[in-house]
């Protein structure tokens, strides 16, 4: 029977499995990042804390004389701790086990660390890159042991997990999305850019006195959620353009195209074409529509997706379409304010401008010749924005020059795949070199 004793046994087993998983990862210290080591130490504290707290409280219930009451209290105790253990298993174990050096782009770690420190100054935030077997990329704050154990006196340690698909370890497109859009989320959370927007109650759902008509409360709640979720995505896209320049836009369709239709809105994200329109606009406003080679592509995107904001919402769930449409209407009007707040919250030296283009073109020439571009002159490193934009320019050209260098061809699917792989390798090598030389922001 599923009584308190059985629950206690199951909980003990799960804690044991968790401890074994931690030990397994700890046994390979050579492949652990500093962030992972800190997370493992923190997890040890959490597991020990859970075990001790649980055991003490379980024994405290010995004092309860009423057997039914004791059983009920213990069952409830198990339930509470099961939730904690579930949190650890669901959220932390995948981060731990998927962070092996062979699975994640380790060359990006110094860049990620630097971006996190700049985006959230003053916070003790440890980023951890980890990979997943599915094509998924995301950023998430992880609960620390202090949070799990509700220990207010514990040190203020926070963890930030950044998930990347294992299949795309060396993918330039994914690197751009990770460093641009996903880091944009952190900047948004830190500066409350999207959160600062308080959406008005739509006129059609108001009573005569201006308050919400409760007949529309479900739609209103959905509307508020759409504004919050879609607002975050739009703001992260703006930050991505500011931080990386054109590659933020150029890489986006490639990454999102693998998983979503260009004109389908979802519960969490506005349709990709609306976001492309926003990024093309943002890049035009910051002068990138005029830069050599890529400027024309930015203009082309702006023209192709010019009507994307006017298009009606295309959401799978018809019951939510009206709420989503209202959300999009107010968000669209809020975009200029989002842009202003993003720019104001970002240190000037972190905002990429067309001034980088001379270096980006030089770096592109290097990659075309089959050379890494981490260094623009002896001992002087290129920034991550220069490297990624240069790489994308080689992609836009169809990889022909690079194919000739490696004695391959870029006319067949197989040939293109091989040349792309070489380009990815050159870019990763460039980032590694830039890290070593002291990459500029």
């Amino acid at each position: 029977m599923w009584n308190a004793d059985q629950r206690r046994r199951a909980l003990s087993e799960r804690l044991r499995q968790l401890t074994d998983a931690v030990s397994g990862v700890e046994s390979q210290p050579e492949v652990l990042t500093t962030g992972q080591k800190v997370l493992l130490d923190d997890l040890d504290v959490a597991i020990q804390g859970i075990t001790t707290n649980f055991e003490e409280t379980w024994h405290d219930f010995e004092k309860v004389r009423d057997l039914q009451e004791r059983e009920r209290s213990r069952a409830e105790l198990c339930l509470n701790f099961e939730e904690l253990v579930q949190t650890l298993i669901k959220e932390i174990v995948p981060v731990m086990t998927g962070a092996s050096a062979s699975l994640v782009p380790v060359e990006l770690e110094p860049v990620v660390n630097d971006e996190v420190t700049a985006a959230a100054p003053g916070r003790n935030l440890t980023p951890i890159l980890f990979s997943t077997p599915d094509f998924r990329y995301a950023i998430k704050l992880l609960p620390s042991s202090a949070e799990i154990l509700a220990d207010e006196g514990a040190k203020n340690q926070e963890f930030l997990s950044l998930c990347t698909p294992a299949i795309g370890r060396d993918s330039i497109a994914l690197h751009a999305v990770l460093l641009g859009h996903e880091m944009g989320h952190l900047r948004d959370w830190q500066n409350d850019v999207s959160k600062a927007f308080d959406p008005p109650t739509p006129q059609k759902w108001r009573r005569a006195d201006g308050e919400l008509d409760l007949a529309h409360d479900v739609a209103f709640e959905a509307y508020v959620n759409f504004v919050a979720d879609w607002g975050e995505e739009l703001v992260s896209d703006i930050f991505s353009c500011l931080r990386l320049g054109p590659v933020a836009l150029l890489a986006f369709p490639e990454v999102v195209g693998a998983t979503a239709h260009m004109n389908h809105d979802s519960l969490s994200h506005p349709a990709p074409d609306r976001r492309i329109r926003l990024m093309a606009e943002m890049l035009t406003e910051t002068g990138f529509a005029e830069v050599e080679q890529v400027g024309e592509v930015v203009k082309e995107y702006a023209v192709t997706y010019a009507d994307a904001w006017q298009r009606a919402i295309d959401l799978r769930d018809p019951d939510l379409r009206e709420a989503a449409q209202e959300a999009w209407r107010v968000l669209r009007n809020e975009i200029p304010a989002f842009k202003r707040r993003c720019i104001a919250s970002m240190p000037t030296e972190r905002i990429v401008t067309p001034d980088i283009w001379e270096l980006a073109l030089k770096a592109r020439n290097r990659l075309r010749e089959g050379l890494p571009c981490g260094e623009h002159s002896a001992g002087h490193a290129n920034s991550i924005a220069v490297i990624l934009n240069a790489a994308w320019m080689v992609k836009i050209e169809g990889l022909v020059a690079l194919a000739e260098i490696i004695g391959g061809e870029a006319a067949t699917t197989k040939g293109i795949g091989k040349v792309s792989q070489v380009l990815d390798g050159l870019v990763v090598k460039s980032i590694e070199i830039a890290n070593m030389l002291g990459r500029p922001v």
Binding site: E30, V31, L32, T33, T34, A101, S102, V106, E109, P110, E369, G370, L371, P372, G374, E375, S377, A378, G379, L402, I405, I406, G407, V422, G425, L426, V428, K429, E432, I433, N435, M436, L437
Partner: protein, 184 residues
């Protein structure tokens, strides 16, 4: 044609010239360059043989032998233990771009050779080659030796060449150690 060894000054001047086709990335410091040689560092990826169910490997099918090798990717602050008599493939951290008038041989540096770690073969780097050459390393000593990424473990000895046309290597533009491909 007379084969000559370039001097340190000649190498430094060529490596720092924007127009010269001879490049090493990152650009070596003055300390890395010697008379006719440039010290090279080891990268972060190692391919090491594992015990497996394969009874033997046919010398004429090197790609099959590649199945014996497991890749270890280190973080910059990681380390790799080379056990006595172990054979591993690694690559240089530096990325070379050879001009048509130079070729080179990669050899272990004497400090490491005396500890027992040697580059098993002097890898030939031909004119026109681009990439991080694969190193075939063996620990001939009796104790394990710990390697760390970016240790200057080997050097390329350079000499003049007179190639007229680039013939891309099968390993052209590689940035990680590669197992052997089918012989051509």
């Amino acid at each position: 044609m007379t084969v000559a060894v370039p001097t340190k000054d000649q190498l430094l001047a060529r490596l720092r010239s924007d127009d010269d086709k001879f490049k090493i990335f990152p650009t070596p410091t003055e300390d890395q360059v010697g008379h006719g040689t440039v010290d090279l560092r080891i990268g972060t990826v190692f391919l090491s043989a594992e015990r497996s169910s394969l009874e033997s490997v046919k010398a004429w099918e090197p790609e099959e032998a590649g199945r014996l090798f497991r890749e270890t990717q280190l973080r910059p602050d990681g380390s790799f233990a080379m056990h006595p008599h172990q054979f591993v493939l690694a690559s240089t951290f530096e990325y070379l771009a050879m001009p048509l008038d130079l070729s080179g041989l990669i050899q272990s540096r004497s400090t490491f050779g005396r500890m027992g770690i040697i580059a098993a073969t002097a890898a030939f780097v031909g004119p026109g080659f681009k990439g991080s050459p694969t190193l075939e390393l063996v620990n001939l000593g009796e104790v394990a030796i710990i390697l760390k990424p970016y240790l200057a473990i080997c050097q390329i000895a350079l000499f003049t060449a007179d190639e007229k046309k680039v013939r891309p290597s099968r390993y052209q533009c590689s940035t990680r150690p590669k197992f052997a491909k089918e012989p051509t």
